[in-house]
């Protein structure tokens, strides 16, 4: 009796498991539910889709297509999806191609995130390996146009890059590394570049850089400077005076810097550092152990002034909340006349990145007339009374100025960089008599 009960319980569990398995694998096994005649798989489709026969002559044919499993991806009768797809295209692909993205992957290709597999792969057939729609770098350069220009025009090229992006990058995702890299630096680089070569030591002033990140000086995608060093090079690096900042090459800790934080940079940039420290407010990261290196590269950089990336990227490392608003504002169709520095993500057009005497590290006394005036002639901007003598009715310690209505870094989905959703809402902040009750 007890055994029977156990048996029934097991059979129920197995049935449940099978039902689940059937539901999960629905797109692939959809074939069965159409009860096709033996030998009819694919053949029926090709009776009408005759031009498709030509496609099947390609060198590489997607397996379901090859075996005539058209209904593995398409519903022959009806579908809410375009091209009678049995499900959203990404879900169809994932039903067979599992584990394309490792769990908790550090970096995932944007089109993979979006499930646009068809942007790179032809779901039916192609003359390229992995049924890619184009071969090699040409496929990547379709989207990565800036990179394409750079790779093609660089005076000094990096051979593996020109050969194939996939030499260094994974096309789908990277479990533990940024930028879809196949291996971490310098491991990736030393697969080709031998670090035990005496010339390598000589070129690096005998400093033991074999374990350092090569991309702190070299632009792996090519450069207009020899040894594919980044365009903007820190003077001591260009002059091969590593010991200006680091301990001597033969010392016990040759890669250690002679001083920490901003004090190291003060050695040459004393005037700039002293000017920054003479202000009321300092940008605090300047005062931690990394100091200037929070925003600048020590050796060489793609950006001018050795910035560690475009301004918006550098600022966004800490101020992601503000950059998020800026991004939404930038992409908001209600913001056609978006303030130029906001549109371009040029934070330092209004803010002093090192220090300032004013709140929010603005260059000028207030994040209003003084700053906005650089681009906007506010006197002709509006007939609304503004200025120091016009007291804000909401707060007697404030005068009416630009930021009474606008917000300087972007306001997300609100129009015209307004603090408020609508013009009416803006007006009735102060003009209570106009408020509809």
């Amino acid at each position: 009796m007890k055994l029977d009960l156990i048996r029934i319980r097991y059979s129920l569990l197995i049935s449940l498991f099978l039902i689940c398995a059937l539901m999960i694998s629905a797109p692939v096994s959809a074939q069965d539910k159409f009860r096709l005649k033996p030998g009819a798989k694919g053949e029926i489709c090709l009776k009408c889709h005759e031009p498709f026969k030509e496609k099947l002559k390609a060198r590489f044919v997607h397996t379901p297509v090859k075996i005539g499993e058209c209904s593995g991806c398409h519903n022959p009768h009806t579908s809410p999806q375009g091209k009678l797809l049995a499900a959203v295209s990404a879900r169809i692909c994932v039903s067979c191609h599992k584990n394309m993205v490792p769990e908790n992957a550090r970096s995932v290709h944007q089109i993979v995130v979006e499930g646009n597999c068809g942007q790179c792969h032809d779901p039916h057939a192609s003359d390229n390996k992995a049924v890619l729609v184009k071969e090699g770098n040409e496929l990547c350069f379709e989207c990565h146009k800036d990179m394409a220009d750079k790779v093609k025009t660089a005076r000094f090229k990096h051979k593996p890059v020109n050969e194939n992006c996939m030499n260094c990058h994974n096309p789908h995702a990277s479990g533990t590394l940024e930028a879809l890299l196949k291996d971490d630096l310098p491991a990736l680089c030393i697969k080709c570049h031998k670090t035990d070569n005496p010339a390598f030591a000589r070129q690096h002033m005998n400093y033991p850089v074999a374990g350092s990140r090569c991309n702190s000086c070299h632009d792996s995608h090519g450069s207009n400077k020899p040894v594919i060093i980044f365009e903007d090079v820190h003077a001591p690096v260009a002059e091969k005076k590593c010991n200006q900042c680091h301990e001597e090459a033969g010392s016990q800790s040759p890669l250690a810097t002679k001083k920490k934080g901003v004090e190291l940079c003060r050695g040459c940039h004393a005037e700039m550092v002293d000017a920054a420290f003479s202000k009321n407010r300092i940008h605090w990261p300047l005062l931690d152990e990394d100091g200037c290196l929070n925003c600048h590269s020590a050796h060489a950089a793609k950006q001018k002034k050795l910035l560690a990336g475009p301004v918006i990227f550098v600022c966004g490392k800490c101020h992601a909340d503000t950059v998020k608003l800026q991004q939404i504002s930038k992409n908001n169709p209600k913001n056609p006349g978006l303030c130029k520095p906001v549109k371009e993500g040029d934070c330092i057009s209004c803010h002093s990145p090192h220090s300032s005497d004013h709140m929010l590290l603005t260059e000028k006394p207030s994040m209003s007339f003084d700053v906005c005036n650089k681009c906007h002639d506010w006197k002709s901007h509006s007939t609304h009374p503004v200025g120091a003598k016009i007291i804000d009715p909401r707060n007697k310690n404030l005068s009416v100025d630009c930021i009474s209505c606008h917000r300087a870094c972007g306001t997300g989905n609100k129009p015209a960089m307004s603090q408020f959703e609508t013009v009416t809402e803006t007006c009735i902040q102060c003009h209570k008599e106009l408020e509809r009750r």
Binding site: G261, N280, H319, D321, M359, R394, N395, N397, L398
Partner: protein, 301 residues
């Protein structure tokens, strides 16, 4: 006569100002008044600091380069004293100890000044016996109920603990994987709390412990860029979301309790709040920096 006039003025201000009660989550509070000016009528300008106990309030009137001290009695502020001194020209944070001394962090010099109750400069807090004294940059500080001083040293990534006289006692290193710590608080149990502005996360170090652990997960959904925190005598933690212009309240266990106020210019609303304090009577003072005022709330629950 002068004091009486100020009394009348301040009481009138409290009575005439619109009193509003708010509720957000389990935090109920009421805005009772705002401090806009000194007794001469000179308006506050970008005040970034405020400290209080049951009998007084000290404001760091930052852009006016001064401190203002008020006597607090029966929810009435009187006897305004202006403290202006060359040793503290840009106060950005202010605290009180149990002996009625005033401590102010000068943002320009990045030094903590110790003042008598009357506002006389007594000296800077120079941690005596501190390891690596050359690598020391105070970003924020706190004073516990025994008057020990806790300094957030952003250069050496540590919290320095000093005795009430300013002698070095111990240090706690920052935890791994942190962002940028802007504020420090010590709760009534002696636990040290830090706020990571970048990750909007609170870290805690139990009294006597040598390290920090996360108290909350990232609160990016609730906050934009918190820069300060304080606690009350019930153990609630108040997080100043400067960029988000609001105060987020969490419990001792890090659980979200609610939000106080939001961006705005009218009474009860905040614009870039910097520091707040809560006294034993449940009176809350908030340095409402970009609104050029200090707002006063009462906790109702």
């Amino acid at each position: 006569m002068k004091g009486a006039l100020i009394n009348v003025f301040l009481i009138a201000a409290v009575l005439l100002s619109p009193v509003k009660a708010f509720s957000a989550g389990t935090v109920k509070y009421m805005n009772v008044m705002s401090i806009y000016s000194d007794e001469k009528g000179a308006g506050l300008k970008s005040p970034e600091g405020v400290a209080c106990d049951e009998s007084r309030v000290v404001i760091a009137d930052t852009a006016n380069h001064r401190l203002l001290q008020y006597k607090l009695e029966d929810r009435t502020l009187t006897e305004v004293a202006e403290i202006v001194m060359p040793q503290v020209t840009y106060p950005v944070l202010v605290k009180l100890n149990s002996k009625s001394e005033i401590f102010a962090l000068d943002g320009r010099q990045r030094r903590i000044a110790r003042l008598s109750r009357e506002g006389v400069f007594k000296g800077y807090v120079e941690p005596a016996g501190l390891p690596s004294p050359e690598a020391y940059v105070p970003k924020s500080f706190e004073i516990d109920k025994e008057d020990n001083i806790y300094i957030l040293d952003v250069f050496s990534e540590r919290v320095i603990i000093l005795n009430p006289e300013g002698a070095y006692q111990s240090q706690i290193k920052f935890p791994k994987g942190h962002g940028f710590f802007s504020g420090i608080a010590v709760d009534f149990k002696g636990n040290v709390l830090l706020i990571d502005s970048i990750n909007a996360r609170v870290y805690s170090s139990a009294k006597g412990s040598e390290g920090f652990a996360t108290l909350t997960e990232s609160m990016k959904e609730q906050m934009r860029f918190p820069t300060g925190l304080t606690t009350d005598n019930r153990g609630r933690i108040y997080l100043m979301d400067r960029n988000g212009s609001r105060i987020i309240v969490v419990g001792q266990d890090g659980s979200f309790l609610g939000q106080m106020s939001e961006l705005g210019w009218k009474e009860g609303l905040l614009n870039y709040p910097s520091q707040m304090c809560v006294n034993a009577n449940g009176e809350v003072f908030v340095a409402d920096t970009n609104n050029n005022r200090v707002q006063v709330f009462i906790l109702l629950k």
